[in-house]
Amino acid sequence: MSEAVRPNLARSGEITPEIVAEHGLSEAEYDRVIEVLGREPNLLELGIFSVMWSEHCSYKSSKIWLKTLPTEGPQVILGPGENAGVIDIGEGLAAIFKMESHNHPSFIEPYQGAATGVGGILRDVFTMGARPIANLNALRFGDPDHPRTRHLVAGVVAGVGGYGNCVGVPTVGGEVNFDPGYNGNILVNAMTVGIARKDRIFTSGASGIGNPIVYVGSKTGRDGIHGATMASAEFDDRSEAKRPTVQVGDPFTEKLLIEACLELMATDAIVAIQDLGAAGLTCSSFEMASKGGLGVELDLETVPCREDGMTPYEMMLSESQERMLMVIEPAKEDLARAVFEKWDLEFAVIGRLTDTGRMVLKLNGAVVGDLPIDPLAEAAPEYDRPWTPTPAPAELAPGSVPAPEDMGRALLDLVGSPDLCSRRWVWEQYDHMVMADTVGRPGGDAALVRIHGSDRALAITTDCTPRYCQADPKAGGAQAVAEAWRNLTAVGAQPLAITDNLNFGNPERPEIMGQLVGCIQGIGEACAALGMPVVSGNVSLYNETNGKGIPPTPVIGAVGLVDDIARTTDIAFKAAGEAIVLIGETRGHLGASIYLRDALGRREGAAPPVDLAAEKRHGDLVRGLIRGGRVSACHDLADGGLAVALAEMALAGDLGATIEAPGSAPEDAGETPLHAWLFGEDQARYLVTAPGAEEAAESLLEAARAAGVPAARIGVTGGPALTLPGGAPISLGELRAAHEGWLPRYMGD
């Protein structure tokens, strides 16, 4: 059939194969366009198909795998499919959250790319009726020595802050990693968490034939046209020239939009609401109609435009920021208009719902586009792309990895390294306290944001260890979930659900597809085992430059609940003389570790095994201890292992410690060589301190024994230095200088 159709096309004039290719559609996909329409599209229609069927909007490469993720649980109110996931947090409230990438735009223009990334994810959340209460950002940059890295770090951090600070939502956490694998493709993943009343959640499914479709927010310009298709294509040396107009964020307008939308949402005027994100007006109107099983008719001359002479194509594909689309009750139009006028925002009725099941676009009365809604959505390509599993690397025996000459020196190097140094330089540029509910500030395991007016709080974190995902995608995917779960647990929270942002290279390459599949499998298993379903997410593919993909980076954003902020803890050592207890089993796993990479310059070995049953058992014990007030500080163990966690706890509390390897003498640290004991990255581990007297420590160990959880006393807090087994004391001053020094020095402050 397709063979019969294509020759016609070449002749028909307007749509040439080049135009089709520029729209990122394959020949086979273009054939389907014709099949769906029953004729050739015009340019406007082609543009609409192209964005609707782009990877970014259709998830064509990932959909069949995403379907395997666990998305249900008693806490889930709305899983994937809406603008953001919704979970029940009790007392009539819901937490609404999602994470989204803005990788490509941030590489091109770091400040605006990051800023508009924050703006976009905020809209996904307040569109559903939530007041945003926290932002997080997971960032990945290239080699610090790469010539563009510093500029990108400066721009992205300023952009995240510039937007979040102005809208008045605290930025409370995130991640920053450096790796040469991101030299040509940085990652900027932004997460927003909001809170809404459970009985007042807004969705995008339109209803009510004849109801007005209302456009609100900023005017439409020629911004980011084809941003969605760009986010779905690999970079090459020509992309500079093909650049669309960069989108500029206006956080001030966003703040007004938040307030205006929430004000209107307190009435019963809104039938459905949807933000304008990637693929702007096209995607949002399509989605609203499609979810409601209806049609739409838009009068494009009524769309508020920033510039003269904008074409229907430009209006439909523009990605101008700070805009929303609503279906409202006809009788409430004046009320709605008054709210938006109060906030000095655009308000325009641009069309109505119809019963035709079609999207009809008119300009001054003339039909300029006419597409069937459901067939277009149903015919969207969905690929089961070929994939090859990542070959499993050989296990690396701890004993085969050379020990450093001096443990203290090695620790100083690690805590002062790009990946493990303090992120203070970053978060001090973010207003992390506005709204006056930030109970747990950045710098710990999970941020704690109080639920306004109560003693309860949400714990929030983002995590991913790309080193592990690269070595073993499935273990890495599971580890990312486990670490997020651990970070929530380590502050005393009950983990509830996650959002994920799957960042990968070109899925048309089977080895990359294999990474995606493996990570999703690992995430799915871990979510199921830990009772933490996936309620929203985002996929960013084609993070690849000249055929080189990024390390697989499935970032997990997790949310947990604290019933009483008085029963939480943080990582800081509190008082001298407290016993330090290591919970979990230490075998000294050094494969794919930071020690191996940064101290020895080696990237090899298997990722640490993830025992989900042990994670659960250990975490449940720790959470119980925290809630029972039986520990004074808690930190989970991650990159850099035990030694790095100890250093962070000592620095946070400005209090040293003396550590003894189990079995006392250093040469006698069981089967595990001392450096593997200190720097190994075995999972499912925590450090806790027991407040007060001897009995407290004993009772902790007893509780662990009873729960079948390995636990050992490894030292005691106190003094102005951290003393590792067999080593000289490392003064906290020296440790702090190393830990706090790298980032400001690198950034030239």
Binding site: C166, G168, P251, F252, Q429, D431, M433, D455, I565
Partner: protein, 234 residues
Amino acid sequence: MKAAIVVFPGSNCDRDVQVALRQSMRGAPGHDEPIMVWHKDADFEKVDLIVLPGGFSYGDYLRCGAMAAHSPAMTEVVRRAKAGVPVLGICNGFQMLTETGLLPGALLRNAGLKFVCRDVHIRVETSQSPFTGRYQTGQRLRVPIAHHDGNYVADEEELERLEARGQIAFRYCEPDGAVTEAANPNGAARNVAGVFNEAKTVLGLMPHPERLADSALGGADGRPLFDGLVEALS
């Protein structure tokens, strides 16, 4: 006592300061809930205290506080301030107060050019005001800052006048109270963190006392400012 908080488009610490004020007013007889006044409303009820909250009024575009300074409510605030009604401007509110001329000087971009959000120490320069009555002169407070433009400038003569008349309310300092360059987070002249008008009925300050007025948030050094105001104005 009655207090009004003026809300501008882009204000984002309006609720925070309302919570702090409410906490200090709670239980004291004759106290009303602090009211929120929309910037277009020049006709708001008679109050004993007006607060200009922090945030990014008008996005901080052009100059911080410049556009807010011209709103109808501000015209009224200036009128009442001149008639002696106490006005507290925090962060963006401080910027508005200098833009209207109720306070001398101006606030420029931070010397480090970056937005800075962290706890700092400030020294109370005088307890002789309705705002600082619950503090001791010389007392050190730990309070957060969160701003991009907190670099206080005024010419030498003006600064001398401020010193001479005791109009400097707070200075950035070390934890032990020493006023040093290292303790200055934004390059402010003479480490000035807050200033009074001559009558000490208007206070503008860059730090956010409302953000550490609740020990659940990690400190409460900001609370006596609100407690003291409630006491002084009741």
